[in-house]
Each structure stands twice: as C-alpha cells, then as structure tokens.
Amino acid sequence: MSSATGNARKARDDIVRGFRRWHIWGRLGWQEVKRRYRRTVLGPFWGAISIGAFVLVLGSIGSGLFNNSTADYLPFLAAGMVVWIMLSTMITEGCNLFIDGGHLYRQMRFDYSILAYALVWRTLIGFAHNFSVYVLCALIAAPALLLAPTLPLAAVGLALIAINGVWLALLLGIFCLRFRDVQQFVTSILQLALFATPVFWSPTVFHGDWRLIMVQLNPLYYFIEIVRAPLLGTIPAGSIYLWAVVITLAGWAMTYWVFRRFHARIAYWS
C-alpha cells in the first residue's frame, strides 16, 4: 500500500540517490551543452557573444540614461545580466524538465531529481562561458574589480543559486507537466521580470514603498545581489543573505511537499 511515509521515503530517496548519481547527471548535462552547439565553431560562446553585444550597447546607452559613469555602469550591468541569464535559464528550462525528460523516465526506473541536477549543472557550464562577458567588461571599465577581495563571496552566492535551481526546476517541472499553460505564463512573466528586477537599474534608485515593491518583494533581486555585489567589490548586506536563505529553505520545503505528494504521478502525467 502506498502510504504517506512510503511516499516521503520515495521522494527523499529520489533526491538523495539522484544527487549521488553525479556521473549520470554530469554526463546528461554536459551532453546537452555539446548537443546544442554541435557543428558550431564558437559553441557556447555564441551565448556569451549575444550577451556581450547586448551589454555593450545597453551599457553605452544606460550610462547616459542613468547618469552613471561607464566605469561604474558597465560592470554592474554585465554582472547583473550574466546572473540574470542563469536564473532565467533555470526557470524556463525548469518548466520543460519533465516534458523533455520523458524519453528517459518512461523507459526505465529513473530518479527524477537527476534531471534537475543535470539542468543546474548545464546552466552552471553556461554561466562559466557567459562570465567571460563580465571579465571583458571589467577589463575595459574597471580592471581593479577583477582582483576584488570579495570574489570568493560570489562563489558562495553561485552555490546558493545552484541549490535553489534544483528545487525550482523540480517544482516548475511538476506544475508545467500537469498544467501545460503554466509554462507560457512563466515565460511571459519572466520577460517582464527582467525590467522589474534591478538588473538595468540600481536598487538604490527607489525609495520608500516603491523600493519595497520593486526591490525587496522581488525574490530574484536577492539572488542577483549575492553574486553581483561581491563581483563589484562590496559585501552584500546581512539581510540579503538572510532572505536568500529563507527563500532557499521555504522553496525546498514547498518542493519537498509537492514532490512527495506527486512523485508517483509524474510518469502518468507525461
């Protein structure tokens, strides 16, 4: 009989055992990167080039628009964009997690979490390529940033994003598998979110209630900031880490509940 404790054990086993099968998700993630760029000369750097062009153009406009010096604005924009791309990739591709992964879990018993780990892994590989844009912008505008003593904190922020990417992908993957409209909804919201999140503009431009709405109530802000601020040589405020950790715990709790409840249904919904 499938009891509540049985479901809890299955969900937990899936998440733990899936993580231990790093040789599988490592390979699946890597193969996916290779597959996308096969027979292209520049490979994953195509992504970096398009972000780089975007950042350079917007950086030139933006530094005038927001009355910033290019030396300040360009690295700010580049750092924000590469982190944003990572977050939005995890979100949009998380929606497809179980729709695309069906050929694997419908052929054999398969730990579903492997798909989420593979997604996060390949997003990190993409980030490593895109990061060259930031390095280039920093070299042009403010080379001293590349030696900032706060850089190790950016790695901590990246690790936090990766941990969140796993629950996010699992949760979105389950919802989008069952309700195929969710994906469309998420994609369109995400386009708007790029403008509503402090990526192009600095969080300090808003004050009072507006700051609360535009910045502090936006969960994406905290995850951008925990990587961007250390890259730009500042230590993120304690409250930012606090919120990032709260979101991590709440997200995992929610996902664990949903995953436990619907783990057995994923194959049926596909």
Binding site: H103, M108, R109, A267
Partner: protein, 254 residues
C-alpha cells in the same frame, strides 16, 4: 535472489485535455482497457483502467509469457514491474536489478558517436564506468561496427543501429529481464548469431517476462504464462494451457 511480488495491482491512466465529445467517443468503443468516469466529489475525471487486481509472484528461473490482445495490459504490467508507473492501488515489490527493453538504447543521441552512446546507455542502466569499459571489447566484437563506433550514430544505417543497441544491451547482466514484443519479435532481422546471443542473454537472466504474440517464441522461451484481458490476469499456467485458453477465448468472441 531475484523476486517479483505483485499484489492487487491497479493502474489507471488519466486522460487529460479530452473534449467532452472525445470522452463520449471513448465510452462508446471500449477497446482495450475499460474507460471509466471517476467522480471525485464534483470533479469528473476520465481514466483508462489499464490494470485491475493483478497479483503475481515470480522467483528465480521463472520465464513468464504475457499473452493477450492488444490493449490487454501486457506492456503496462511490464512497465509497472520496471518501476516506471507507481501502483495506483496495490503493491509491486521487486528484488534484483531490472533490465527493461522497450525501445532502443536508453538515452540514445544520434549526434554522439557509437562509443559515447555505449557509455550513456551503460550509465543509465546502472553500470559503473569500469563495468562499461570492461564490456566494450565484447560490444566491439559482436557488433562488427569497427571504425563506425567512432562516428556519430547519425551516420549509421537502421540495421547498424539495431546491431549497436542489440550488442550493448545483450552485453549487460540482465537480472530481471523485461521484454516487449518489439524487440523480441525483431529476431527475424538478426542473424543466427544474434539469435544465439539473445538466447544466451535470456538464459543468464534470473527472471524473464516476455510480452509477445509470437507463439513459437513464447513456447520456446517461457515456462509459465499469464492470459491477460482488459487489465486482468484471467489465467496462470503453463504456456500450452494458457495458449489453449487464449484460442478458446478468440473463438468464443468470433
């Protein structure tokens, strides 16, 4: 060592996004599984009853033939044993490694080389890198693909792809082997060598469950049989007994 225990297994497939008219149509021609309209409170939900009240026990040395019409639940039962579908009700308890063979190689990517696909498939089937490396000479030798193994699978002919997946899968330790008719009846394409290797592979398995319509194949490979109809096991017995019952059922229907 290997053991499969199934108790009162029920599996329903939910049917989403079906129009009202489509639902009606489904009710009227109930081929295969029973389509039922479950009422959960005020919410109606269309489900296809794929398996109902199936109980079965298999131990080492059992070679079970699944016999029945299309849509009788044979493939669903194989997938439930493989652990792909969790029981809606009842219990499936499997001890031992399961090798499900429903399609081609798992994780097949046509842009990867033969060697790369061997590693991916091996990992997905639960082997370690060293176990895969150890199996590669055998795969090279049997598939006779030679230098093609270093080329993308995209460049293979259909026959060469069959050779590759067949060589990979049969190089493994089968454990509990689940075979669907697609692969089992494909043996006409294989050379005699392949047929021998398949026999030997099945021989190494602890338990075999084979769904097929090829009666000669079932008789030569299996020592037990289950007659399935509309998601239930009607009869369990020897292959000959069950085939007789199956033919009697066909005659009664015509």
């Amino acid at each position: 060592m290997a053991e499969v225990t199934i108790e009162n297994l029920r599996i329903d497939y939910p049917l989403y996004g079906s129009h009202r008219s489509l639902r009606k149509e489904f009710f009227e021609r109930a081929a295969g599984g029973f389509i039922s309209h479950e009422r959960n409170g005020h919410r109606g939900r269309v489900v296809i009853k794929a398996l109902e009240d199936v109980s079965l026990h298999l131990a080492d040395g059992d070679r079970l033939a699944l016999i029945g019409h299309n849509g009788a639940g044979k493939t669903t039962l194989l997938k439930a044993i493989a652990g792909i579908y969790e029981p809606v009700a009842g219990r499936v308890d499997v001890r031992g490694r399961v090798t499900p063979l429903f399609d081609t190689m798992p994780g097949l990517d046509v842009d990867d080389t033969g060697y790369e696909n061997i590693v991916t498939a091996g990992l997905l089937l639960g082997l370690s890198r060293t176990e895969i490396e150890a199996a590669i000479p055998d795969i090279e030798q049997f598939s006779e693909l030679g230098e093609y193994l270093s080329l993308p699978v995209r460049t293979y002919s259909a026959g060469m792809l069959t050779r590759l997946s067949f060589s990979v899968v049969t190089a493994l330790d089968p454990g509990i082997l689940l075979l669907d008719e697609g692969i089992a009846t494909g043996d006409a394409e294989f050379s005699e060598r392949a047929a021998r290797r398949m026999d030997e592979f099945i021989g190494r398995s602890h338990i075999l469950v084979l769904a097929s319509h090829a009666e000669g194949l079932l008789q030569s490979l299996c020592n037990r049989a289950a007659l399935m109809k509309s998601g239930r096991i009607l009869k369990l017995g020897t292959v000959d007994e069950v085939l007789t019952a199956y033919h009697a059922d066909i005659e009664r229907a015509s």
